[in-house]
């Protein structure tokens, strides 16, 4: 081994510059995990909400009161007629069961939960009074693995981090070195430009490994996220995604001479993808008119491929389309970046 290998030294220096910068480490590794935990907890799967029922304290409603209080599906409040009306008005009760000339259900039809509450309350009361089903039916309830929100979220966050890491990790660092005139100083040595770019991209790929592992392990351990695909397929998709965004990062930073410029460019590129590319909710929710644009975004393709591989356990071959689009983005961006790159 050569005593001084430019590739090794450039790579080592880039690694040190990263891990000795606590801010960079936090935003690359800490923040995505915190975000995952926060969103995972906020949208965790809960048992169905109880129906909130206000019942008037009328003697005639005694049986109904006992029936509903004995049923796990209901949370009951007993009070005077005005009290019941007030609970309903404030939204504390979904429905009020009152008694005037007969049993009266009072609810607000503009509230979505009111209709369900009315059906459930009526069903329980009628059944207790002896009503039987005219048609015998059977309920089969299934919660499919991988169908929860957190299962949808984790691959999206992974894609978002690969985008952010590639763009910031390459773009910001490059512009910072240009501002410091470190690029100019390097190009004043016999350094081969190819070695420089290789070390930049290579170190970024190394930083990606813990990034992907941390997110998937957090998802698996804390939220039991379904990971159907095998490790190699996930690694290939994440790797191509990381390379593609690293190329885009290099492209965006190829001319910029100010941090403001590169920050603006990054945000302009990332903002549409944060919104449209299906990180937090499916990109299919946008109108058909927008779909060609949405599908052309690299993060949409990366998220699609990550979800297919991670959640559905799809094969790499089946993902040739998104992977080719990603690779094309990366390649074109990289070639243009090399052509336009400004060292001074």
């Amino acid at each position: 081994m050569k005593r001084y290998s430019p590739n090794r030294e450039l790579f080592l220096c880039r690694m040190r510059m990263f891990y000795r910068e606590p801010d960079a480490v936090f935003w690359t590794y800490g923040f995505p995990v915190l975000l995952t935990i926060g969103l995972g907890v906020a949208f965790r799967t809960k048992p169905p909400d109880k129906v909130q029922v206000a019942i008037q304290d009328a003697t005639a409603l005694g049986d109904i009161q006992r029936t509903l209080q004995g049923d796990q599906a209901f949370q009951t409040f007993v009070g005077t007629r005005p009290q019941c009306e007030s609970w309903l008005r404030k939204g504390e009760a979904d429905i009020a069961v009152l008694y005037a000339d007969g049993v009266e259900y009072r609810s607000d039809p503009t509230r979505p939960e009111a209709a369900i509450a009315r059906l459930k309350v009526d069903e329980a009361i009628q059944r207790a009074a002896g009503r039987t089903d005219a048609v015998a039916t059977k309920d089969v309830q299934v919660t499919a693995p991988g169908a929860r929100y957190v299962d949808f979220l984790i691959p999206g966050l992974l894609g978002m981090n690969l985008m952010g890491g590639g763009l910031w990790g390459i773009g910001f660092v490059t512009v910072d070195m240009r501002i410091r005139k470190l690029l100019k100083r390097l190009v004043a040595t016999p350094m081969h430009k190819r070695d420089f770019f290789l070390s930049l991209i290579g170190s970024r790929m190394v930083f990606t490994v813990p990034e992907v592992l941390l997110l998937l392990v957090t998802g698996r351990l804390l939220f039991n996220v379904a990971i159907e695909g095998n490790a190699l397929n996930i690694a290939v998709v994440a790797g191509i995604g990381a390379l593609s965004f690293a190329g885009l990062g290099l492209f965006l930073s190829s001319r910029a001479r100010k941090i403001e410029t590169i920050s603006g460019l990054m945000n302009a590129v990332m903002l549409p993808m944060w919104i449209f590319s299906g990180i937090f909710f499916s990109s299919k929710r946008f109108p058909d008119l927008l779909q060609p644009f949405i599908q052309a975004l690299p993060l949409t393709q990366l998220n699609n491929a990550l979800r297919a591989v991670i959640t559905d356990g799809a094969s790499l071959m089946s993902q040739w389309m998104p992977l080719s689009i990603l690779a094309a983005y990366g390649l074109v961006a990289f070639v243009l970046a090399l052509r336009w790159f400004r060292w001074t």
């Binding site: 090794r8 220096c13 000795r20 910068e21 470190l182 100019k184 100083r185 004043a188 016999p190 350094m191």
Partner: protein, 326 residues
């Protein structure tokens, strides 16, 4: 014995900066320069004179608009790789990566050269051995500048380019940089540096080119340049101003013994003289004969600063230097 070929030859160097929406700026307007192998050569001039443009063209970092450049008998565009292997460069202002240590930075720069010096030797040469494990963001300004020069020395260069190596440094740090440059010269290697400190050029350089408004207006050793303006001493004095004796014109003193040059300054007069011991008694005699009262009188040796003033009629003003102070 045939003299070694010059380290640098450039002729009719021109550089025009064109910015859209603004009139073009001619930074260099036909600059000729020859730097002999083994000498320490200084480009001296005020800010904006074209020093940095010149040195960056010679370093191959900037394309001249026109003109011919030969460095170590090679040309930029044809022999870049071997030129880069043989020259060392310190830019006017480089902020190296803060989080790397001194030694890591040196190892990085060393790795680019096929045959370079050992980082340990260079650390000794620039007196940073104790600091080798310190991160760059903990170094003082002088230490950072020494590290920048160290990076330029790692390839064991035949030709060293230093752009304002001591600007903004305290006197002690400046002397340390001078020692490094002197040792480089003692090994028979060439240095081209830019500076706007006259004393630096005077102490350090074998030859100096005075650059002003994009061209060279004088070249020679510091003592040659000083001789060229005639005298070796400067007498400066001020007079009390009270009516009815109006202050005389500078020409009033030109015929005093051994006076080569006489100038009125803002607050007095400046005479360049060959023999102060003849001039001063005559000056005092003339002043008392005309009932003019001295407020101050100083004498000193002629400096490169005086050369610059006599060549351009302008002073390297203190404001210009203050801009660069830390």
């Amino acid at each position: 014995m045939e003299a070694a070929s010059p380290a640098i030859i450039c002729g009719e160097l021109r550089k025009r900066y064109v910015t859209r929406g603004q009139p073009p700026v001619d930074a260099l307007v036909g600059l000729d320069l020859t730097v002999a192998s083994g000498e320490c050569f200084g480009l001296l001039g005020p800010n904006g004179a074209g020093k940095t443009t010149t040195i960056e063209i010679l370093e191959g970092l900037l394309e001249p608009t026109s003109g011919d450049v030969q460095v170590l008998n090679m040309r930029w565009g044809d022999d870049d790789e071997s030129l880069r292997q043989r020259i060392g460069i310190s830019l006017q202002e480089t902020r190296l990566a803060d989080k790397l240590t001194v030694e890591e930075t040196l190892r990085l720069f060393r790795s680019f050269y096929r045959n370079g010096c050992e980082p340990r030797e260079i650390l000794d040469a620039v007196s940073l051995f104790e600091k080798r494990h310190s991160r760059i963001d903990t170094l003082s300004g002088g230490q950072k500048q020494r590290l920048a020069v160290a990076c330029a020395l790692l390839g064991c260069p035949e030709l060293l380019f230093l752009d304002e190596p001591t600007t903004g440094l305290d006197p002690q740090s400046r002397r340390e940089i001078w020692d490094i440059i002197r040792r480089h010269r003692e090994r028979g290697r060439t240095t081209l540096l830019t500076t706007h400190y006259m004393d630096e050029a005077e102490r350090l350089c074998d030859r100096v080119a005075v650059v002003d408004l994009g061209k060279i207006i004088a070249v020679g050793s510091p003592s040659e340049l000083i001789h060229r303006i005639g005298g070796e001493h400067v007498i400066q004095f001020g007079l009390k101003d009270h009516t009815p004796n109006a202050l005389p014109d500078a020409k009033f003193f030109c015929d005093l013994p051994s006076v080569r040059n006489c100038n009125a300054e803002l607050d007095g007069f400046q005479l360049t003289v060959g023999a102060p011991h003849e001039c001063i008694p005559a000056l005092v005699g003339r002043l008392s004969a005309h009932r003019l009262e001295l407020t101050r009188l100083t004498t000193r040796h002629v400096s490169l600063e005086d050369v610059f003033v006599s060549l351009t009629g302008r002073r390297l003003t203190t404001e210009e230097l203050a801009d660069k102070a830390p």
